[in-house]
Symmetry: C2
Subunit: 188 residues, 2 copies
Amino acid sequence: MDYKELMEKRRAIRDYEDRDVPLDVVREIINDSIKAPNAGNRQIWSFIIVNSKARMKELSDLNKKTVLAGIEANPNSPMKVYEPMLRNDDYNVFYNAPCLVYIVGPAKAATLAPDCALLAAYFMLAATERGLGTCWVAQGGFIRDPEILKELGLPEGYQLVAPIILGYPKTIPPMPERNAPKILKVLS
Amino acid sequence: MDYKELMEKRRAIRDYEDRDVPLDVVREIINDSIKAPNAGNRQIWSFIIVNSKARMKELSDLNKKTVLAGIEANPNSPMKVYEPMLRNDDYNVFYNAPCLVYIVGPAKAATLAPDCALLAAYFMLAATERGLGTCWVAQGGFIRDPEILKELGLPEGYQLVAPIILGYPKTIPPMPERNAPKILKVLS
């Protein structure tokens, strides 16, 4: 697909068809995404694939519990705005998508956040090219229980950086308005 | 350009033709890059364009001084490996590229690093589509002098996140080998 078209079609999708994503397709998308630029080509990223709505529902419930506990401990939490949503039992942080990929890496790596985000951009474009929708769901990264993290295969000292849901979109919404870019200075 | 071709052609370029990048082209690339996904569509990014080799040489010298001072203060610095290069007067951290774009944002924003990196991925692809080469030069972000930061137009409380050089590549090197992606677990 042409890049311009791809950029327009890559939207945050929160409404998915009830249709599984074949594991091979997930692997293809990952294979494309590792072409992303990254610091010193060290490729510090790894992946966890959760390809089951039932598992994702369990993870969603755990995430909600952790975020709500954080809000209770700190009433000034920036997550406070999400409280009513999080208290709704029907709310699934993964929007009932059929698949979830965690981009993870060593917590101490200085370039962890940018490297995983560069990869995430490639991942979301590569998914769009295959007719899939994605959404980076920050609320899906709040798993703290060591047992669950072990079950997810997360190595000691690693961090869940980018939880990205994946599935066939019911519809592709139009691109929301962007602000004109703020160019603070041009030095010539 | 087709996305697959674009991903292959997007390489870290460190050798540029002696040819300016028209400011309009830089603006076009920025206009594409703001289509990147970002937390809550808050678009916390801003831009500084340095479209002058002479200015970039001054900035390179300042960066080298700061990084070297850091290495002297901390002999275990991860930048230590770059010391011989940094002590070479001919070494320009911006590889004599004709143009530099700083992606910047509010230092306190929780999603600053990922949002700017998502944008950077789009920026580098949009540049590639126009026949330009780029490289994210982390060493170009070590400006600490408040006077210089003011001259760059950086608002109080803002941070230089991604310094990306831009220019017409002399050659496009082949994609360096990628490791097979580490898929830690598949939960189905």
